[in-house]
Amino acid sequence: MDIGLFGQYVVNGVMLGMMYALVAVGFTLFFGVLDVIKFSHGDVLMVGTFAGLATYLGLQAAGVASPLVQVIGVTAMAVGSMALLGALIARYLVMPLRSAPPLNTLLITLMLGTVLREGVRLFYPEGANPKPFPRLLPADSIAFGSFTVRADSAILLLAGLAVIVALNLVINRTKLGLAIRAVAQDEETARCMGINFTLIVLVTFAIGSGVAAFAGVMNGLYYNEINFGMGLLLGVAGFSAAIIGGLGNIYGAILGGFLFAALQTIGAVALPFASAYKDVFAYAVVIAIMAWRPSGLIAEKTSERV
């Protein structure tokens, strides 16, 4: 394999890994504060991407032609509206079910995902068909010998990295992050220390959903096509990533995201069987990893009290 093609696979894989990691981080944050899995996460991402597309069309109609303004507007709208939606979901669907079995939370969010997906399919104009997503980033190529990187890929990778770093700083270096970690560790003690539990939960859901919407816009800008089903696949991949990394651990989520993308890429190019089997391979390895490390690669430190 020549180096240029190899580089292309690496860029693709890293891009996918970045998206999975951003989705997985949301799952792990939600699990941290409420010990729940919010399965509508992928569909929130999809709705965010469609909100971004609608914003683009709106800006276009309003006569704003500058791609820079457009890309900022699209991202801000997608992230902002999904942060709001995430907080609403937490407030009205997840928190009321706190005393119910975890299965119920899983199911209600799965069903919400279906509602969002079907809602977009039925009510977004021509929502059932794939939609072209605008190319808003410069598409010049940067060449390193036989290996070329498109400028938009580079910008997306840097932006994704910036989001992950920023999120990490927020969680580990700010008062808000301290409160999130406190709630994740022990809800009651956190309350005793004067932390507004509900507010922190809502903010966490807002952050996670906003990050997912960012991943959705990344996806749209990279592949230039979106459809109503994209959230389900990204959601399941992100969930698997969060799980193989170990729930409740933000580094685990990032590791899991890149690992899952690597598995898919390896399945597609490096293995003797047809590349169509890449997902079969990736999920089979996920199951094998679960058998080997039952609570993820970076396991939660817990001891069971009887």
Partner: protein
């Protein structure tokens, strides 16, 4: 001192009313008629519950279980006889019976052993594809496709046992979700199994007789689906009977302790791994057998019939019915299969409405329609 036994009458009346309602619902074509029937049934159940009739029916069912189980079987057969030449209602009935069988399998897993399984439709699909392969590529008698389907599902499920035993909670869920997606992708890309186009199942023969052709019976022509309704009913009765016996026996008691508190169960000497394997394998075998019969009946299967979304529908059925209650699962299976088919007007919106409905149930009646009651050590004398 012997208490007076509750009367058989309320139970029989309920079964009869159910049968009449099933006939009316399956016959109704106009959307307003379907709507009126469903609204009427909802009001009637609400009234029955409000005026204590539901308790009388419950007591009657507890006291005369055998008679009423037989009455239900008779009622299903009577409804089948009513529609003897109409393909569509019979197809729907058979689908309900097969979904109910699968959901009984899931009830054993979720409701008794407390194991999550988000790949129910995948195991159903394994059974279906096994039947297709048996008919298309082998000389094995076609009737054996049904037990083989169950066997294949159980065998494939055993690959998941190690990760499922080692993981807990959400981690177990991801094992089954990963399997569901793996399975569907595999079916889609494997050319021997037909790829995304799926497989056709032709020329099913049982002892030289072709069940997929219309049959004459004393000068009356019957729809070939009659055979499948009866076969699906037989499978359901078998599944229900065995599972009920298991639930009532010490096996069911052991499964309950494993679900409620693993640590305590282990302390009292229960082998947790063994009981989980029993429950998981039995549930998958039921799903596989139902899937095999389904494949023989419809004659055409494709990966899109066995997606993760379908597994979710199965899970919603048992949740809607009340986890752990076999009758609840069967009732919910009937509702979930029939309503979208009858409400053609909402066909386009059915997934939306259906998902919204499940969300409302989870918010306002999380225990399901018929919650599982406490174990009665002597049935009928709770």
């Amino acid at each position: 001192m012997e208490k007076t036994r509750p009367s058989l009458l309320p139970g029989l009346a309920a079964v009869g009313a159910g049968a009449v309602f099933a006939v009316a619902l399956l016959t109704a074509e106009q959307q307003w008629a379907v709507g009126a029937l469903i609204a009427g049934a909802a009001l009637a159940s609400l009234a029955a519950w409000r005026f204590g009739l539901a308790r009388a029916i419950g007591a009657s069912v507890d006291a005369h279980e055998g008679v009423l189980n037989a009455a239900v079987i008779a009622a299903v057969l009577a409804v089948t006889a009513w529609f003897y030449e109409d393909h569509f209602p019979l197809l729907m009935m058979a689908t309900v019976l097969l979904s109910a069988t699968t959901c009984i399998g899931l009830t054993v897993q979720f409701g008794y052993a407390g194991m999550v399984n988000f790949a129910g439709a995948s195991f159903y699909g394994v059974g279906a594809y096994t039947a297709a392969v048996v008919v298309k590529y082998t000389a094995v008698p076609h009737l054996l496709a049904i037990p083989l389907g169950g066997l294949a599902a159980a065998a494939l499920g055993s690959l998941l046992i190690l990760p499922m035993l080692r993981t807990k909670g959400h981690y177990t869920a991801v094992v089954t979700i990963a399997f569901a997606i793996l399975m569907k992708t595999f079916l889609e890309v494997n050319d021997t199994l037909g790829g995304p186009q799926g497989m056709k199942i032709r020329n099913v023969t049982v002892f030289g007789w072709k069940p997929n052709t219309a049959l004459e019976f004393g000068g009356v022509e019957l729809s070939h689906y009659v055979v499948y309704v009866v076969a699906a009913l037989a499978l359901l009765v078998l599944a229900f009977g065995l599972t009920r016996r298991m639930e009532r026996s010490w096996v069911g008691l052991a499964l309950d302790t494993v679900r409620i508190d693993e640590t305590a169960a282990a302390c009292f000497g229960h082998d947790i791994a063994r009981w989980k394997i029993v429950a998981f394998t039995w549930g998958n075998a039921l799903a596989g057998m139902a899937g095999a019969l389904y494949a023989l009946m419809v004659g055409f299967i494709a990966p899109n019939n066995f997606t993760f979304g379908d597994s979710l529908i199965l899970v919603s059925i048992i949740l809607l019915g009340g986890i752990g209650n076999l009758w609840g699962a069967m009732l919910a299976a009937a509702l979930v299969v029939i309503l979208p088919e009858k409400f053609q007007i909402i066909q386009e919106y059915r997934f939306l409405l259906y998902a919204g409905l499940v969300m409302l149930i989870l918010l306002f009646r999380p225990q399901g329609l018929l919650p599982r009651t406490l174990r009665a050590y002597v049935p009928g004398r709770a």
